[in-house]
Symmetry: C2
Subunit: 554 residues, 2 copies
Amino acid sequence: MNEKKRIVVIGGVAAGASFAARARRLDEDAEIIVLERGPDVSFANCGLPYYVGGEISSREALAVQTPQSLQALLKLDVRTRCEARAINTASMTVDVCSLEDGELEALPYDALMLAPGAKPIVPQLPGIDDPRIHTLRNLQDMDRIKKAATTAQKVVVIGAGFIGLEMAEQLQRLGLQVTVVEMMPQVLPQLDAEMSLLMQSELEVHGVEVILENGIKGFRSEPSGLVCELQSGRTVQADLALLSIGVRPETEIAKEAGIRLGARGHVMVDTYQRTSAPGVYAAGDAVESIDRISGEASAVPLGGPANRQGRVAADHLYLGERARPYPGSLGTAIVRVFNVAAGLTGWTERRLKLAGRPYEATLVNDNHHAGYYPGAQPMTLKVLWDPKTGRVLGAQATGFEGVDKRLDVLATAIAGKMTVEDLCHLELSYAPPFGSAKDIVNLTGFSAVNALDGLVRMTHTLPDPETVQLVDVRPRPLFEAHPIVDAVNIPFPTLRSSLDLLERDVPVVTICAFGKMSYFAARILHQEGFSVKAFSGGIRGSIDPRSPAKLPTG
Amino acid sequence: MNEKKRIVVIGGVAAGASFAARARRLDEDAEIIVLERGPDVSFANCGLPYYVGGEISSREALAVQTPQSLQALLKLDVRTRCEARAINTASMTVDVCSLEDGELEALPYDALMLAPGAKPIVPQLPGIDDPRIHTLRNLQDMDRIKKAATTAQKVVVIGAGFIGLEMAEQLQRLGLQVTVVEMMPQVLPQLDAEMSLLMQSELEVHGVEVILENGIKGFRSEPSGLVCELQSGRTVQADLALLSIGVRPETEIAKEAGIRLGARGHVMVDTYQRTSAPGVYAAGDAVESIDRISGEASAVPLGGPANRQGRVAADHLYLGERARPYPGSLGTAIVRVFNVAAGLTGWTERRLKLAGRPYEATLVNDNHHAGYYPGAQPMTLKVLWDPKTGRVLGAQATGFEGVDKRLDVLATAIAGKMTVEDLCHLELSYAPPFGSAKDIVNLTGFSAVNALDGLVRMTHTLPDPETVQLVDVRPRPLFEAHPIVDAVNIPFPTLRSSLDLLERDVPVVTICAFGKMSYFAARILHQEGFSVKAFSGGIRGSIDPRSPAKLPTG
């Protein structure tokens, strides 16, 4: 234990910084050298968009640590503007080039942490080198975009993922006219389509133009500004473009060193973050870890996993097999854009379908806290689960408040291998400002178990009205204000006395605003001998994300 | 299945209303009679304090359902102002008295749900019958208190539990001068003492006087108003007094019917909510269920369990053993008073100690979301866990934002029988407005595992400075502004170069503001050969709940 270890860390942001900090706690004597190509270490990369829009006003707040502070706190030898050029796994050295003076050095290591991160994907399109086209990875990118935004009027954001939408909001906050272009037919392509509708609506409500199912073909510089040519032939004029179509692991140096990579170029690691090379660990956006649900290879370029993987690697370096392995990632993620939050944990319906894995989907709308307490806001929760075991496989939530809380409860439930039956009896904290006696998580469990027990059959799409009777049980004024074509309106309280209005030998689908009354109606009709399904999630769930449960009064 | 069941429900609020609603979904034909002694059914009893203070402005919002709406929605025969006087379990009848006309009726039942709830404890003290002394259970109590508050100036709230403090806040909002009197040496006696400090401070900051370790001896009516005599001899003047010292199950009718009661007078039920009498179920505040952690008898008078127990009973009535049993209660609870929230789930340290059950406590302070994003607020999380298995046994949280979320995550983790190791790798939703890459829940896991692995020894109390060296590693200005007597200040960044200031053969206890830097310092000193413990939770954790991590700048 007493020989002094030399530890080299390539990349000093999330995973690298976490690794270095944990290594120092475990070993006061080790020499820990952190190589960072950029001028900053351990900066808050998730905060970059908020500084562009001014929501975070202090740039210093983003530079969480400096080489000096890391020296003072952790005795780290942080070398910024130093690039690792090659790894020699046989001699256990890293070739380092100082970007200040071009000097080269072969740095021996006892242990090496590869945490180079991922870089924004930049497709080789015509005109892509125009200086008005930006990507956002670090503080320098941020500064450039913030500067460009001061003179720009029109912005195009290419890619409607999490960072693209955060940037769209922040640029709109600056008074710019923002257009978002997305190749998929929805914003937030990470989510199932219906779970993205409220966010799309929120963008549009705030004057952001959303162009879907349209990729970018190229850019043209014209006197009027930058012209973005879309695949449909349409063009969008801009003074500033942000490319946000995903990231790619920066693993060239690992590849050249013969370290094993996964199918999509990530460094492959075991559950202790070990790579194929002795003494070489890797963590963060550059690695392929495992999926916590399936155990399959999975790369999740997010801050949480990066930080925790860095810690696991340091633990293994010092504790060996006594260290606790990394259990895999769920891909829990959330985004807030204007007043709407949306996020996911675990698998989506799309992913389950693609993988051919059997699943059931349960979608519930409810208020985020007791409806009688002021400020209650509707939210939507969707849970995917295994029809055989009931095990929760994934969840998505969207709404105005309390979205993060429900995702965290579901992420915990998935980590605990819990089932939809377990969701029924989660005993969550309830006082009127915080929740409901039956939280939406409980309701989702109830709904799933009702389906499991055959108490109700659900349909997730509105069937052809030629073959079924669509029965909308909303109050008449609501039905009239937001009608469903081809549906007959039988307000719920009159249903029991209106059965004669229905044909007994034609199947019925019940519809309501939120998906609750239609279930109640389906129970009545089923017991009355009808063949009936309830329309899952109601009109709000998949047709109109702002459909109210009742008309505003007064 | 086709004979029409007659179901009688005694008590039409949380448990009774849930039971009746679920029974109707399962059986469209049953005759369901709900007996309610009061004039209201299914009202929002957790909302009562908020109406008194005007935070909820509409009284109608609290009357969630009416007999008419329950008839229309659920075909329930709701009989308000009807009191069940006796149960004959042999003949399966309930003697019912109409409080309108005094008429008596023997109502036969096939199934009976006992959901009479609990009533506020009113100790038989001198002067207790003074009309200025109130309790709060229903809308009528609420109306009386609200009316009395319009002319009152001074209020005394007796009992600093959840409802007492909610009422203290609401009465203060009305401009009244509020004094809270509590027999225990802390507010929120449900929590461990240190977890109640922030709440006590919040009351005092808002001008509420808090008198602890002082019970009420009696009341005297004087020309100046109501005088409350405390056990210490002190008196408190008031125009209005609220008694909020707990509730007692209202189970006289069950006892007289020979239904088995628990030691403290609750109706004993099995996991399907069956009582000892055939066909008689019970649920809600009146029953003794099981503790989810220990499996022992446990009564939790809260809305969440009541609602879910009612549902379980209805399921059992129709599905028999195919129904899913009630898994027991955790006692998850939360309260917001002014800007502070505090709550718990599972067992407290006090309860573990009393039960003689081995445990470890881990207490962590951190921001509720990323510190670099505006509005980050410090919060405190305490987790109790089993030292042998690592299993989480309980959690408490307090702070300004995000308290409910962490309690819910921990309640889910406890339900999933998860360990402190599992907390390390919960993958919670992270974006700057919502959380941190390493959430406080993860940090609590890290801290517990560090203790488990022997990386750090913690002390939960500051030892006698005669026997140890107290080393405060906060920045000097902070130490000077909020000093710790007998501690030497060695700011963390200078610790490594200041080891000569310490005696090597005297144990050290490291102290900091939040409990993080003291752990870092302990790691350094331990590796340097010192015998060292870190002061758990820092100064904020158990000494000064508003101790800052740094001095305000600018």
